[in-house]
């Protein structure tokens, strides 16, 4: 269920420094999220699509992710064309579909897919461990970095624990249905999971103390910028400036 499917690879995108990838991801997403300029959105979509191709990721898996993301967008397509006032395009029975409504829904679709593709290309191509180190060197507070790392680390342990409990239920003939009994079983399962993790936390803290935990997060592998990183800063910088220029031209 949880695997970093896109993090392994040896493409140019995979090899970029995770620190600059985090910055790119946020900068690019913010510009895309607030822009309504068709030129900016179209070029952004092409750009993020190109990134995903450069990263040489499994195409089928990407389509699967995009499909899930677009389910909510589909709901908007059912409602927005009917509720945005504007030039009447056509009417079916009593439903009036407006041009503005269609454009609005289309805009949201492009924006959402562009940002999701950019997240895949920039963030999912690094391992969580490398992202954790990157967060630390981006001056995120130590406590926050620790929490991020530990939450991620223990999701796997607890998922295993959950599967074990679930198997025990299955062996005893548990079949989930819509009933109070099922809900009680799931609740007790969750309760057990929470109690076990609470007890485990005490052991983890002691183990951390034994290894010299003082609240400071240490980074073991020092990242240093490579030539491709510096080149990417140049390309990305020019592209972002271009986007901002396009955006500014339209609004002035």
């Amino acid at each position: 269920m949880i695997e970093e499917r896109f993090s392994k690879g040896d493409s140019i995108i995979h090899k970029l420094d995770p620190r600059i990838k985090i910055i790119y991801a946020f900068l690019f997403s913010i510009i895309m999220a607030v822009s309504a300029n068709p030129l900016v959105l179209t070029s952004g979509f092409v750009f993020s699509l190109a990134l995903v191709f450069l990263a040489r990721l499994e195409f089928k898996e990407i389509l699967k992710r995009l499909f899930l993301v677009n389910i909510f967008i589909l709901l908007l397509w059912l409602i927005l064309p009917l509720s945005v006032p504007g030039k009447l395009l056509f009417s079916i029975w009593k439903l009036h579909i407006t041009q503005e409504g269609i454009i609005y829904a289309f805009q949201i679709t492009v924006r959402c897919n562009t940002i999701v593709l950019a997240i895949i290309a920039f963030l999912s191509t690094s391992s969580i461990l490398n992202l954790t180190y990157a967060l630390k060197s981006l001056r995120i507070p130590d406590k926050m970095v620790y929490l991020f790392f530990l939450i991620y680390r223990y999701i796997f342990t607890l998922l295993k624990e959950y599967r074990r409990l679930e198997n025990a239920l299955k062996i005893r003939g548990f079949i989930p249905k819509t009933s109070l009994q099922t809900y009680r079983v799931y609740a007790y399962l969750t309760g057990t999971l929470l109690i076990r993790s609470y007890d485990r936390a005490e052991q983890i803290y002691r183990a951390m103390l034994c290894r010299g935990f003082t609240g400071k997060f240490w980074v073991l592998n020092k990242n240093s910028f490579k030539k491709t990183d510096i080149l990417s800063i140049g390309i990305f910088g020019i592209y972002i400036t271009l986007l901002l220029f396009l955006q500014w031209m339209k609004s002035s």
Partner: protein
């Protein structure tokens, strides 16, 4: 429950992000070094619990448990939710980056409200009171979150009014389910480890 990328307007995104940042800052400041593993592992457990699919009529829904998260984590629920959402964005692209603030806020505010409203009754001797508070925690957590999502949608544009209404209506069955399950969870925890309920302080 979360709002996708590309939907909200800039003022809504900025408003959500700044309010969430305040909550996260306050939450992280309150966590003592020795409580870090506790907050982290409990957050992981809540993350795993939210992946469980529970049958509801012909479909199945996943738990949100933000109210319960508030009771267990106290103010640390803000950084915990933020980081869980960030992980979700990286691992399976649910939610997004620019919506991190809004989504942290829509789930975190009801959570912290549940903490202030019900953590006292969790410590009382009466089991009935705890069960009722547990039910209300589940219902209120989801109900208020859906109201906040609806508010963010409507401030973005009036065209979203129908979507906003739909969000709230669609979550009514989930609220009741969350209420039932949360009250059962409270029963177990109160029997075995009552100290879990009351926020990591």
């Amino acid at each position: 429950m979360h709002i996708s990328e590309g939907v909200l307007s800039a003022p809504a995104l900025i408003g959500g992000a700044s309010a969430a940042a305040a909550g996260i800052g306050f939450g992280i400041k309150k966590i003592k070094d020795e409580d870090l593993p506790k907050v982290a592992v409990l957050s992981s457990a809540l993350f795993v619990a939210s992946l469980i699919h529970i049958p509801l009529g012909p479909a199945s829904v996943h738990l949100i448990l933000n109210g319960l998260a508030g009771l267990i984590l106290g103010w640390s629920v803000f950084p915990a939710l933020f980081l869980a959402l960030l992980l979700q964005a990286i691992l399976f692209q649910f939610g997004g980056l620019t919506t991190l603030g809004v989504n942290t806020l829509t789930m975190g505010l009801p959570a912290i409200l549940c903490f202030y409203l019900f953590s006292k009754s969790m410590r009382s001797k009466s089991d009935v009171l705890a069960i009722i508070s547990g039910f209300l925690t589940g219902v209120l957590g989801v109900f208020l979150a859906s109201i906040l999502v609806a508010l963010f949608l409507v401030t973005t544009g009036e065209a979203f009014l129908n979507v906003a209404k739909l969000v709230i209506i669609a979550h009514i069955p989930v609220m009741i389910l969350e209420g039932i399950i949360t009250s059962f969870i409270i029963v177990v925890i109160k029997k075995i480890r009552p100290e879990i309920l009351g926020g990591v302080e």
